[in-house]
């Protein structure tokens, strides 16, 4: 793909859906979604992985048949042998697929090959970017907390394709501890896979009933969904080439179409956000990180609008 071409990508599914539901989700994405790149693989918890492995081949074949570029995602936090085995299994396919590193172990294993760097590998400055490019990174998905100034500075020197998450709950933290199990009074090693009850994560409320975070097993996410529909032209202008949507239990085909329309300039940010809100009536949107504010802040479209 030409380095100047913008592309739309679907990040790895972060939640613990039933294996058949995952398979059917990706089949539908393969067949119907107008999307260029699909990341696939368990990024959060190695314990979920065995249930999905029997479906890997069918999912990958279908995505390829659907004309999608598949990138394999690795775990964000690798601690024990089981985690490392999960990372190694993905890295073993690096000759056939681009593999996205979730931590430095994967970066180490992928060094010298063409690979992708995920948002949980900290690339905050030009020197780090240059290091990973020299190691083989061809695509780098940046941490969601980076503001416009940083994105612009990175894009001005990048030869790798830089990507930013433009839709979905933002991964904020990963832990050795399982908060889903903990919330249910269970230990991690006997978790009963309770994270499967919450297809978009479990909302965390304060004692004053303010919804502000969501937990997903070992992961903590934003409660608000990042929505950079308004900012997409500005992102493209400063040199961001990848626009990543994080999957949710919503109509991802329609959502993808909306972002495609916005990327192509067929629709205004305001109109697109209006339609997105109709598809996700319960979601609250945020764009604060891009504007250098707290991540949960929402800068109104009129204030955020950039000439494009």
């Amino acid at each position: 793909m030409d380095v100047a071409t913008k592309d739309l990508s679907l990040g790895p599914l972060l939640f613990n859906w039933a294996p058949e539901k995952v398979r059917d989700f990706y089949f539908r994405i393969a067949d119907e979604a107008d999307i260029d790149v699909v990341y696939f693989g368990e990024a959060v918890c190695a314990k979920r992985r065995p249930f999905l492995v029997p479906h890997y081949e069918a999912i990958l074949d279908r995505l390829k048949a659907g004309g999608k570029q598949v990138i394999l995602s690795c775990l964000q936090l690798a601690m024990d042998r089981k985690d490392m085995a999960a990372v190694s299994d993905m890295v073993a396919m690096a000759d056939e697929y681009l593999v996205e590193a979730g931590d430095m172990a994967a970066c180490s294993l992928l060094a010298g090959k063409a690979y992708a760097v995920g948002p949980t590998v900290n690339v905050y400055n030009e020197a780090t970017l240059k290091f990973f490019e020299a190691e083989g990174a061809r695509r780098i998905s940046l941490n969601a907390e980076l503001p416009e100034d940083s994105l612009k500075a990175l894009a001005s020197v990048a030869t790798a394709r830089l990507e930013v998450q433009v839709f979905g709950r933002i991964p904020l933290a990963i832990s050795a501890r399982c908060f889903h199990a903990r919330a249910h009074g269970l230990a991690k090693n006997s978790c009963q896979y309770v994270c499967e009850k919450d297809p978009d994560g479990l909302t965390v409320e304060t004692l004053d009933h303010q919804s502000f975070l969501a937990i997903n097993g070992l992961q903590t996410l934003s409660h608000h969904y990042v929505n950079l529909l308004e900012e997409m032209p500005r992102l493209a202008e400063i040199g961001i080439r990848g626009f990543r949507l994080s999957p949710h239990a919503a109509d991802m085909i329609k959502i993808t179409n909306l972002f495609r329309a916005r990327l192509a300039g067929w629709i205004s940010g305001e109109e697109a956000t209006h339609r997105l809100a109709a598809l996700l009536p319960d979601a609250r949107f945020a764009n604060g990180f891009f504007h250098g504010m707290e991540g949960l802040a929402t800068l109104e479209a009129s204030a955020a609008a950039q000439p494009c």
Binding site: Y124, A127, L129, N143, A144, I174, F179, A183, T206, E294
Partner: protein, 327 residues
């Protein structure tokens, strides 16, 4: 068995002298800016203070480690490069880094500078640690607080650099350097600004006998008259996720591994790190004195019992992830 090295916090020059006098083998600190992960008002060192600290510590046989462990800003990494240059020029005993770009810069520009990998790099497995060793010549890794003693034993067999583990003080339940919770709620981040849940965004509200603590407008905890109110660090609050309210991420406890020092030494650990650059002199004096005794006792084949609950957050201690049940 080799004696564990005791690495102690120096938030201020005064705390540094106390720690050295109480028996620290090494002290660590940062400059008074965003280049280190304890960028709090009233803390840290100027260049002149670091030079004096080096004289004071070296005259007493203690080492000095400088932490430059935030992530350099794109378009403006000058403060970080200047901090690394000062580390070299002032001849610190080790420089503690997390950022890949800074590691590469330090390795290339000052090849003789001894590099330690900060916990903020969250290197939690042998493959990652060896990568930092091979690419940047890192000599020691500060391990994330997510590994059990058997994990550490196994790890030390698979890497050829030293390991330093957290021994006492605050607990991060999240993988360090991979957490943007504070950034999400306050706009200030550990990685970018060296702060977590900053005081500038904290409010305490009294309603009768009830004290509510807030961060960035969000309620983090609520205390009755009989409860001691803790600082509203985001991940240490009481929240609701489905069921009843509780400490969803982490109890307000402190890490204390003084009871398992012989096991850690046997696991091949080189050094113990005491957290708490934000703490006062009295705290530093007691913790370093007690740990000095515990380390010496363990090296002589004994097991010291410390009672430092009075110094701990929430007056409770835990061995954290070193014992698997924490997870």
């Amino acid at each position: 068995m080799k004696k564990l090295e005791l690495v102690c916090p120096a938030g201020t020059p005064a705390a540094l002298r106390v720690a050295v006098d109480a028996g620290a083998d090494a002290v660590y600190m940062g400059f008074r800016d965003e280049t280190n992960a304890r960028n709090f008002p009233g803390l840290n060192f100027s260049r002149e203070e670091l030079a004096e600290a080096l004289d004071y510590a070296h005259a007493r046989g203690a080492m000095v480690f400088l932490a430059v462990n935030t992530y350099a800003r794109a378009g403006d990494d000058a403060p970080w490069r200047a901090a690394i240059k000062s580390a070299h020029d002032l001849k610190v005993d080790a420089l503690i880094l997390a950022d890949i770009g800074l590691l590469a810069y330090a390795r290339e520009t000052y090849p003789d500078l001894r590099l330690h990998l900060s916990v903020q790099a969250s290197a939690s497995n042998a493959e990652a640690i060896n990568f930092y060793g091979q690419r940047f010549g890192v000599k020691r890794v500060v391990l994330p607080r997510v590994l059990t003693v058997p994990d550490i034993t196994k790890l030390n067999g698979e890497i050829d650099i030293e390991t330093e583990v957290f021994a006492f003080g605050g607990m991060c339940p999240m993988a360090e350097g991979r957490c943007t919770l504070s950034s999400y709620v306050t706009g200030k981040s550990p990685n970018r600004n060296g702060v977590c849940s900053p005081a500038s965004h904290v409010a305490y509200v009294n309603e009768g006998d009830i004290l509510t603590s807030r961060l960035g407008g969000f309620t983090i905890n609520r205390f009755g008259a009989h409860e001691q109110a803790g600082y509203p660090t985001l991940c240490k609050g009481r929240f609701k996720a489905g069921g009843e309210a509780g400490y969803l991420f982490e109890e307000p406890t402190s890490l204390d591994i003084s009871a398992i020092l012989p096991e850690l030494a046997k696991a091949g650990v080189t050094a113990l790190k005491i957290e708490g650059r934000q703490r006062g002199k009295a705290y530093v004096k007691q913790v370093v004195t007690d740990f000095r005794r515990a380390v010496d006792t363990a090296a002589a084949g004994g097991r010291a019992t410390l009672d430092m609950a009075g110094l701990s957050e929430g007056h409770q201690n835990t061995t954290g992830a070193y014992a698997k049940k924490w997870m």
